[in-house]
Structures are given as structure tokens and as C-alpha cells.
């Protein structure tokens, strides 16, 4: 490996290298502690992971876009997402604090795996070819298999892991097969080469069937990742069975990783082709199905984690609508949207963790009368639900506004815009049902709920961010705009 390659690697993948080193360090610390060679606080591993992640997060704010080149890209878009994933990982680690007592053996490796997953996610933010894409995706997928099945004594956790493995393997198979077809048709794995080939083919009357087939299969593989209908079936079961911090990680980090790749796919690979009638119709159809399935599926749910799973599918529908819009405005809207989704979802899962402490299940009954047991938690969950529902003055409102604002610019999408507007009303119904349980029902489990200090801090942070970015949107809109402008 030449010096040029090394310095390019360091420049583009500095964060990933740092994350990899951190993960190894965590394993070493855990090992030394296990052998009694190292004394210190009981959760030394988690603390180390925290410090490391925060250091990397701070570092990510100093990153500057690198010149385009080989191996990968480091543009404003990937920097935005690296920050996003590091923030998500930090939040997930914070979430695993109050959950720690329920994580059985191998506590020390849990943070290490989270860090490994984050490394994969950050890698995905920088991909510029299909091989790295597949490698990054597998890093994320394989580590999340393990995390999903972490509570090996619980049948539902094992079930979640197995289902996830099978579905994940299926998705990976689609993806690899698709990549093979693309390579066959264009002779390259590189996004730019494929995009040029597509542009030439468009000029000459449309791409070949082989190329289209390959692209379609990649789309299917990514559809699994974000839970687009009809590839959403794994979501409710896996979300329900996994340990709750992992569910939160899947619902925010893993979904965002899928969205990042879809954005790269739609902008950097498909390019102008995505504005063609075929792709627009395909994405609009996917969006409509996903919106319908997510929103209607969420209504009858009685388990909070399944419920949040369906709600996540519904949000994926919104995001796919923005993909179908395919303008710079809609790309910025996605970036904004996912950040607001992060704050709302992390808060929601943290509340789930605290309320399910005693019974270790996440039945919706557990939030009944929460306003009596802990007004603070009830209020935080209310903010989170209303932000997800898109109610002002919360950030989720502005996110939906941005997506809709971008989408009305494409006249063909008008039916989809109307459908999504109707679905906003539907979603308000089921989010309000949660609020109804908290404020208008008797608690099934009396007694005051203690909220650990760390959890309190994270919840407050999420709520403040939701309100702040809901009212003072300009800085975040600007960040999202800069990130989106880096796409082709």
C-alpha cells in the first residue's frame, strides 16, 4: 500500500478507523477487567465507550469535505451522517444504562458491538462503490444480528435474532445478485461509472434490461433495510423481541443507514434517471404502500415496541416520498427529518425501558396512568409522540412540512401528497391514543417510577432539541441543505 493510499484512507475513513480502534480497546478493557487485572468502576467499558464516542463526535464536527477520489467519498453529505450515527450510538449507549440489569452475560462486549455497528454505519456514509457498500452493510447487519439476540435466555430475543438473520441474509442475497448484474452490464462497481452508463443509456433510448434488473434488486435489498413495504415483515417481530436499546438502534441508526444508501443510490447512481417516469412511479408506489401499511398497521398494536416499529414503517413511507420527489429540497428534507426522528424515537424508547423495568414487557398498559406515576416521563413521551405525529411547535412538524413542501413541486406526486396528508391524520390518532393512556387511564401498576439521572438528562436533551429545532429551524435547515447539496 502506497503512502498516497494510506493518507487517503486516513483522510476519508478517519472516523471509522477511530471507531474500530475504540471497539478493540473496549474488548481489551473488558478482558482485563474480567481477569481482575484492571480495577475501576463496574461499568468501565461503557464509560470508555462513552468517552470515545463523544471524542469522535467532537472530532466529526471538525471534519471538512475531502477532494473526490478513490476508495470512498468524504463530502458534506457523509460528514452530516457520520455525526448523526455517532450521536445515535452515544444515545443508544445512554439507553443501555438503565437497561443494563437486564443484559445478562457479556455486558462488556455489548458496547463494543454497538461501536462496531456504528463503524459500519459511518462507512456506509462514505461509500462510492458497490463493493464498499456491501461490506459496510454486512458489518452493520451481522453485528445487529448479534445485538438482537443478546438476551439469549429469552426465547423472543432468540426468535428475533433468527428472523433477522434469515431476512437479512435474503436481503443481502438480493443485493449481491443485483450488484453482479450491474457489474455485468456496466463493467464497474463505481457509482460514477454506473451513473455515466445510465446517462448514456437514457440518451440512447433507455438502459438495458440487465442493468435495470440489477438496480431493481439493489433497491429491494435496501428496501429491507428501511422497512419499505413489502419488505417490512421482519420489523414488528424483531423490534419486539430485541433488547430495547437495540430496538432503538435499529429503528434510528439502522434505518438511517438504509436511507443514506438509498439517497446515494437515487442521487449518485441513478442521477437524473430517477426523475424518469418509471422510477418515480416505482418509488411513489413503494411510498404509498409503506405509508398505508405503517399507519394502518400501527392502529391495532398493543405492544409499545411493535407499535414504534409500525410507526417507523410509516415514517419510512414519508422518506420514500421525499426520495421519489428527487430534488435538492427533498434531499435536505430527509436529512432534517431523520434528525427529528432520532430525538423523538430515542426519547420514546428510553421511556419504554423505564416503564417496562418491573415487568420486563412493553405492553401498552405499562404507560397507563403514567401522568400519575411520573409526570416527567409522561410529558417527555407526550413531546416525543407529538413530534412523531408532526404537531407544532415540535421539530417533527417542520420535518413533515419540508417533505410536503418539496413534494408539491412535482405535479405527478400530487395523489401521493394527498395520501400522505390523510395519513398524517391517521398517525395523529394512534399517537394520541398513547397520550390518552398516559393521561386518561388508571395505572395498572401503582407506585412512583424512579427515573435514573442519566435517563432524565437524555430525555430532557431530546425534548429540548425537539422544541428548539421545531421553533428555530434555520441552523438545522442550513446544515441539511449543505449536506444535501453534496449529492449529485
Amino acid at each position: 500500500m502506497g503512502d498516497a493510499t494510506t493518507s487517503r484512507l486516513l483522510e476519508v475513513f478517519g472516523t471509522e478507523i477511530g471507531l474500530g480502534a475504540l471497539a478493540v480497546l473496549l474488548i481489551v478493557v473488558d478482558l482485563l477487567k474480567g481477569k481482575g487485572r484492571l480495577t475501576g468502576p463496574a461499568d468501565a467499558v461503557r464509560l470508555t465507550a462513552f468517552v470515545g464516542l463523544i471524542a469522535l463526535l467532537v472530532h466529526a464536527f471538525t471534519l471538512h469535505p475531502a477532494a473526490p477520489g478513490a476508495l470512498g467519498t468524504l463530502d458534506a453529505f457523509s460528514i452530516y451522517w457520520k455525526r448523526f450515527f455517532l450521536l445515535t450510538a452515544t444515545a443508544v449507549l445512554a439507553l443501555s444504562g438503565p437497561y443494563e440489569a437486564r443484559l445478562p452475560a457479556g455486558r462488556g462486549e455489548f458496547p463494543a458491538l454497538v461501536v462496531f455497528t456504528t463503524m459500519g454505519m459511518c462507512l456506509l456514509a462514505s461509500v462510492s462503490d458497490f463493493v464498499t457498500l456491501f461490506v459496510g452493510l454486512e458489518v452493520v447487519t451481522v453485528t445487529t444480528f448479534l445485538l438482537a439476540a443478546w438476551r439469549s435466555a429469552l426465547p423472543r430475543s432468540i426468535e428475533a435474532g433468527i428472523k433477522f438473520v434469515i431476512i437479512g441474509a435474503l436481503a443481502a442475497a438480493f443485493m449481491v445478485y443485483g450488484i453482479a448484474w450491474i457489474y455485468g452490464a456496466t463493467g464497474s462497481f463505481d457509482f460514477a461509472v454506473v451513473r455515466d452508463a445510465l446517462a448514456r443509456a437514457d440518451a440512447a433510448g433507455g438502459p438495458s434490461g440487465a442493468l435495470k434488473f440489477g438496480l431493481l434488486l439493489v433497491l429491494v435489498g435496501l428496501g429491507f433495510k428501511i422497512g419499505a413495504v413489502p419488505f417490512h415483515v421482519w420489523i414488528p417481530d424483531v423490534y419486539q423481541g430485541s433488547p430495547t436499546p437495540v430496538t432503538a438502534f435499529l429503528s434510528v441508526g439502522s434505518k438511517a443507514a438504509g436511507v443514506v444508501l438509498l439517497m446515494r443510490f437515487c442521487w449518485d447512481v441513478l442521477g437524473a434517471t430517477a426523475q424518469g417516469h418509471e422510477w418515480l412511479l416505482l418509488l411513489a408506489g413503494l411510498s404509498a404502500l409503506t405509508l398505508l401499511m405503517g399507519n394502518l398497521g400501527a392502529i391495532p398494536q398493543t405492544d409499545l415496541k411493535r407499535f414504534l416499529g409500525y410507526s417507523g414503517i410509516a415514517h419510512a413511507g414519508f422518506l420514500i416520498m421525499a426520495l421519489a420527489t428527487h430534488t435538492q429540497d427533498s434531499a435536505g428534507a430527509i436529512l432534517f427529518y431523520l434528525l427529528t426522528y432520532l430525538f423523538a424515537n430515542i426519547a420514546a424508547f428510553l421511556v419504554v425501558i423505564v416503564v417496562s423495568r418491573t415487568a420486563d414487557n412493553a405492553h401498552m398498559d405499562r404507560v397507563n396512568g403514567l401522568a400519575e406515576r411520573s409526570p416527567f416521563l409522561a410529558f417527555m413521551l407526550t413531546v416525543s409522540m407529538l413530534s412523531l405525529a408532526g404537531v407544532p411547535p415540535l421539530a417533527g412538524f417542520f420535518a413533515k412540512w419540508m417533505v410536503l413542501r418539496a413534494a408539491v413541486a412535482v405535479p405527478e406526486l400530487l395523489p401521493l401528497v394527498i395520501l400522505s396528508a390523510v395519513m398524517i391524520v391517521v398517525s395523529l390518532y394512534y399517537y394520541l391514543c398513547i397520550i390518552k393512556r398516559m393521561y386518561m387511564r388508571e395505572p395498572i401498576d401503582a407506585g412512583v417510577l424512579e427515573v435514573p439521572g442519566g435517563a432524565r438528562l437524555v430525555l430532557l436533551g431530546c425534548a429540548v432539541a425537539s422544541v428548539l429545532f421545531g421553533i428555530w429551524q434555520a441552523p438545522l435547515v442550513e446544515a441539511a441543505r449543505v449536506g444535501a447539496a453534496a449529492l449529485h
Binding site: 404537531v391 412538524f397 413542501r405 408539491v408 391524520v425 397520550i435 386518561m440
Partner: protein, 508 residues
Amino acid sequence: MNAFLHDWVLTLILAVPCVAATLLFLVPAERKGLVRTLGVGSALLTTLLTAWLVFSYDQQAAGFQFMQKLPWVASLGISYQVGVDGMSVAMVLLTTIVFLAGALVSCGIQSRTKDFYILLCALVAGVFGVFVSLDLFFFYFFYELAVVPMYLLIGYWGSTNREYATMKLTLYLTAGAVVALVGLLLMYFTYGHATGHYTFDYLEMKRWVDGGAGFSRATQLSLFPLLLVGFATIAPMWPLHSWSPGGHAAAPAAASMMHAGVLMKLGSYAILRIALPLMPQGAVHWLPWVAVLCCFNIIYGGYVAMNQRDMKFVIGYSSSSHMGYVLLGIASVTVLGTSGAVFLMFAHGIMTALAFALIGYFYDQTHTRMLDDLGGLMQQVPFVGVLFVMMAMASLGLPGFANFASEMMVIVGSWERYPIPTILALFGLVIGATYLLRTVKAAFLGPKNPRWDGLRDAKTPLERSPFVLLVGVLLVCGIYPAPIVSLIETGVAPIVHTVQAAQAAMGG
């Protein structure tokens, strides 16, 4: 000081309830006295600011005044822009009065007082925001902000069938809002597409329309119904009204007051502020339909009110009936009729707030509002009884109250254009008299009912103040309506002239 106030008064009016809500967060829930003081104090402060606003508004100059504009999200064409014309000043005044009265009557609330006042302040902030915003984004932002606190206000502190009623109300209003949202976004896009400048600035769009360009006829005809249906849901126009009586009945007193007094007016206001001036040709084409539908409001709403046994349902259906007059006045597009509609929005807001405050006052003690259970209450609660009779007289249009003057304006103003609906509207007055007099008779007159011997009348000045305030406003504006009518006319006249010009141009 005056110059500062001139620039900032609207932002301050908007900020006072927001700041109050934030401060209330920090107050411990047990300190109910402090919570009430903060709630009522913020209402008093907004009253002072609004009084300054009303007296400083220059009627000679007319147009939008006290403007303030700050860039907000420049890249998306959003700016924070506030300003008021005569119509919005009247609506801000209405909101302030109802807010003050509502904050005062809510002093009796014992359970979760703090949360109640926080939500009330949030609701009021949203309503103020709608009335002063001159940016379509913020208009919608505040519109939605006003709708959602109502969910918890009714759901937690409400009564009859509250969970069903509050869900229905929230979903109905949000459904209307998103229909309007699609319309607003399409307007934004069409404007941007035509001029190359994408902005949510209402005044800029209005200048474009007034300058002779404007939306194409086809666009107006297709977008106007979106805004009309979206906003008329909250107005509420028949057949989109069914959320309203149940919501009124279930809500606690102050929430019913805000809801019937102010929230319902957002719909008519939005139609007048956005739909009519920006799409005058659409208005010319679609308003006759409104004139037809509003007859159902008046007659059907009145008949349903006649058959109710629950007092709040009587007032609830009577509200839909009265809103029919407002819609008729808007549809008439004459300075007289449309100003009458806005004046009626004001008068009805005060009147209905009074009604719900009074009903809430004795319902807290009787725990029933069924006319069959009540009777002879005048003996036990003479003060509340007398005020209720005055409210009923105002509502049925007795001269001397603001409602008479405003309904008269609507009827005279719309006679020429819509004779048949106007005759039906006159008939509606008779229906109104019937159910209101019957309600008064069943609840307050008749032999003394010993079951209600223990009822307490409003005795202390604090308890009496909200009722006196509301009835005083009704009487003052009824006996000497000229100042408020001329204020409203300065705002309504340009809107009416825009639509009339479009009508003349279309040859109708």
C-alpha cells in the same frame, strides 16, 4: 417607549402566553395559588397590550399596521411576519377578552391546575398567532398549535363522553388543516413557479394578486375549495360540523369558552384572510355554494338545538347555527354583510363564552346539565340566572346586544344577493328564540326545586368578574357599535372590493 411598543406589540402579545406557559413549567404543581396568579396575570398583561393596540390602531390609515418582519428560514422562503388590520384587531380583542374570562373562571379548577393553565396558554398563543401572522407558514404553524392542546384540555378535564369527543374534534380539525395545508403549499408552489420567487410571504402574494397578475382562473377554481373545505371544517360549515357540539359539551368551561368563542372563528377568519383576497375568482365561483350550505347550518343546527336536553348541546348546536350567519355574511361579499359577519364572530364569541362560563359555573355544583333535572334555578342562583337570561336574549338577537346589530348587518347585507338564504336566515332567528327561551324556562324558571337548595351563587367580585366583563362587552358593543364596526370595516372593505372587482371582471 411608544416606538418600541409600536414595533413589538404583536410579538409581545404572542409572547406573553408563551412565556407564561414556560414559567408555569418551572412552578411546582402544589403551588396552585401561584399558578393561578401567573395564568390570570398573563391574561391581564395581554389585555393591557391589546387595549393599547386597539386604541393605537389608526383607522384613517387602515391597512396592515404594527408590522414586524424577521427572516426566519430564508432558504425556504419563511419569514416571521406579523401585522394587523382592522379585522384582526377585532379578533385579537375577542381572544384577549375570552382568555381573561377563561383564566378567571378556571380559578376553580383543582385537579392538575398547573397543566391546565399551561395548555390554556399554549392554545391562546396559537390563536393569537393565527390572527397576527402574515406569513403562510407561521399561519399554519399557529393554526395547528391551537388545535392540539384542546385534545388534552377536553380529554383530561372534560365531562360527557370526553374521550370520544376530544378524539373526534382533534382528528376532524387536523383533517381540515391538512386539506388546507395541501392548498397552501400548492399556492406557494404556483406563486413561486410563476414569479420565480418562492415565498410564504402573504403580503407579497397579495401585492402580486392586487397588481393584476394573480393565480390563473383554473388554479383559483381548483385551489379555492381546498382552502374552503379545510378552513370551513373548523368554522364549522355543515356537513363538517359534527365534531363541534360534542366537543363543546365535553370540554371544561374555559376550554368550551376558548373553543366556541375563539377557535371556531379561526376558520371564518382564515377564509377571509387567505382564500378571498388571494383567490377572488375562486371566491366568486364557490361562495354561492357556501350561501346554500350555510342555510343548513342555520335551519338544521337550530332544529337539532331545539331537540337537545343537555344545555351544552343546546348551546353547541346553536353555535353551528350562528356560524351559518357568519358564513352567509362572508358569502354576501358586501362591505355591510361581510363586516357584519366579522362583527358577529366577535359578538358570538363573547356571547357563547358567557354561556359556557355560566353553565360551567353551576355544572360544577349540580353535575348535571340535563334540562329535565334542572328547573327553578333562578330562586337559588339569581345572579347566574339573570346573566343567563341576558345571554339568551343576546343570542336570540334582542336589540341592545352586539349580536342584534351584527345579525342585522349580515341580513341586510346579503339580502340583495341571496334573497332565499336570507329569508331562511330570518326564519332561523325564530328557531333560535324558541330553543333559547325554552332552555331558559326549563332551567331557570318554574317552581323552586328543593334538590338544588344548596347551590351557591356567584358572590365574590372575583367570581362575578368574568361574567360581568363578558356581558358588559356585549352591551357596550350593542348599544354603541359604531367604533368596532368602523374598525372592522377598514379591514373588510379591501377584501370585499378585491372580490367585487373580480366579479365585475368575470361579468357576473
